[in-house]
Point group: C2
Chain length 386, copies 2
């Protein structure tokens, strides 16, 4: 098994003055402090970043971030848009299972708010097809609005259904000190907010965020030899892909890439969707959470739209979704999100998360990280497994 020996996060939010290296140093310091292992044991850094070339005029961030983390080890950057650190996790899992390393630092960082809203929207748009989508005026709020309209047209549902997703995720973030928005909203807040791209309004959208995350992963051998306390493991990994442009998809209201990633991860972990007790899913827009729940097999197509409204996915529901606050309320520094999801799940399962009381006996969690309009998808199963 691949053991999670430490996790670390910066607060997510609006810190345009902080460099990526500054934020990643903080996250990796926190992860090694949590792990209680010397950072010099790390054999490589697997790192996710998306828009550093535009936001900081900085590519080749692997070596830079290894230095920021204080490890003397080779580093590789992975980029699959908003799923960049999800890709890093997947390859780290493979490397550890393969016996090619015993301790890896995995993480991501993104500096975004220094670009301003227009600049960040333009930078995010490089995750779409520049020739056929961006030049036609499609940025991500528009793309997800197309997906939401396709969903409504096919299965039904309303803006109020989506509003309940936002309300739930804000509620979950209230006490999360790493969350960008620790404020309660209600359905009217969402419905009365300005429209960004119909049917999605301002509160249907995740914010633009700065932040970093890091996790320390180890082999069973390392954990045994060094007597490390690491009750949580990554037991399944899956990846899926799809055409980049929406117009090359057969149907906009399902995400085959996420379905494929989930199928692979479940098979890998030897579980099924019914075994998952809590999940962090990629709710870059409220409709994205709905699509994710169906991709992951928690609901049949067309059934997840009412999940938050019915209370099934709230903190007191049968299967809490995005107890961290999700991208919606915790924030979405894109390269950091994949490993942040794993970090939050680890704390939730260990019992040292502010929202652990919502899932006191849970042993099986899942992370769903998507790039673009789910042209890239990574799913990881995270379990308490001694």
């Amino acid at each position: 098994m691949v053991r999670i020996v430490g996790v670390g996060l910066t607060p997510f939010g609006t810190t345009p003055e902080r460099t990526g290296r500054d934020m990643f140093a903080e996250a990796s310091d926190a992860a090694f402090a949590d792990a209680g292992v010397p950072r010099t044991d790390a054999e490589a850094l697997y790192y996710g970043n998306f828009m550093g070339a535009l936001a900081e005029h900085q590519g080749h961030q692997g070596p830079l971030m290894a230095e920021a983390a204080g490890i003397q080890a080779p580093a590789t950057r992975f980029e699959t848009a908003c799923a960049s650190s999800g890709a890093a996790v997947r390859h780290a899992v493979q490397t550890l299972r393969n016996g090619e390393a015993d301790l890896l630092l995995v993480g991501g960082a993104e500096r975004m708010t220094n670009l301003g809203t227009d600049g960040a929207t333009e930078a995010l748009a490089i995750a779409a097809d520049d020739l056929w989508e961006v030049r036609a005026g499609v940025t991500f709020p528009g793309a997800y609005a197309l997906m939401a309209n396709a969903y409504f047209d096919t299965y039904g549902g309303s803006r109020e259904d989506l509003a309940h997703v936002a309300v739930k995720n804000h509620e979950n973030a209230l006490e999360n000190e790493h969350a960008q928005y620790q404020q309660r909203i209600d359905v009217d807040t969402v419905l009365e907010a300005p429209t960004v791209s119909a049917p999605l309004g301002l509160y249907d959208s995740c914010p633009i965020s700065d932040g970093a995350s890091a996790i320390v992963l180890a082999s069973d051998e390392y954990v045994a030899e060094n007597d490390v306390d690491a009750p949580v493991s990554i037991t399944g990994t899956g990846q899926g892909g799809d055409n980049l442009a929406l117009h090359d998809r057969e149907f906009l209201a399902r995400s085959p890439a996420a379905e494929d990633a989930a199928t692979e991860a479940y098979d890998d972990a030897g579980i099924g969707p019914d075994d998952v007790e809590l999940a962090e899913v990629h709710d870059c827009f409220t409709i994205a959470e709905v699509l994710a729940l169906e991709s992951l097999g928690f609901y049949e197509p067309g059934e997840a739209i009412g999940a938050a409204r019915r209370g099934e996915t709230t903190a007191t529901g049968d299967r809490p979704i995005n107890l961290s606050g999700g991208l919606k309320a915790k924030g979405h520094p894109v390269g950091a999100t994949g490993t942040a999801q794993i970090a939050e799940l680890t704390q939730l399962l260990r019992g040292d998360h502010v929202n652990s009381d919502a899932v006191p006996d849970a042993t099986v969690g899942l992370a769903h990280n998507a790039g673009g309009t789910v042209a890239s998808a990574f799913v990881h199963v995270v379990e308490v497994a001694e």
Copy 2:
């Protein structure tokens, strides 16, 4: 073993009108044609690109390039500056060895000349430390000039020694139809050219290039089951890392990251430097070839400077280096270079390269791919091994 079942290249050169997807489609078409296997067998794309965010306003290129290649499979982009597709190769080798896939498409593409010389120079500079190098005016010709001066100061050597590297690599490219420069030069051409950053002149520098490369890698099982002819394999992989900024290095005239990568790759393949009969090394500048030959253990520190002048590394020498023409004459579309080196070595060892006659009995080749001022390094051993 990891078998190389097919290789494909576009011509490298100045084609500013071609998109990255157009070039990658050509390279992957060629690779699958060479392989003689259906592209639908590919289980993933491992892809390298460096500056797409700046040159084409296009990140998230993995899914785009999978579609361009005609494969329906997940895709991951790797970015380690000019060693981006070297990183893709390393992770593909791990995945195939691990049994997690049996057939992978690996490659890279870069569109650069559409930016113009100033724009491409600025884009390349994001491989250096933006805060501490680029803002101080250091671009890559200047950085490698610092390394050349450190070398000359420590070990001696002259601009004429370096000129012989350029002359050799141009000579090797004369008949290579994929090479950007198929023209003979002499030592005077190099010495009389304009200085870019002393001691490096125009002919000490590789060009700015457009191009793509692709290789199809398979497991032994796939090759056996499908009766594929694949005489060449990747038998060793190594990666090294260093601080990103030159001022954080102890000594500028050696490349510890490449030394570490070479040591790991030799151990992995069970060979030593004396077993290597030909190599493609990362000669982004003439001094870079000299440093590479020492990093790889072909020469003691301070000894490689005269290798080309003495004829030891020419096509008729004991160990030909950069028979393709190298980055210097074949061209350097950065994200494509790592897999292009493997493609050229494969053809040289199979006997179907225009320069195969220079190494008629060779069975062991090596590829050395570097990022930035060798803050990232990947070494792969490529062998004829049935």
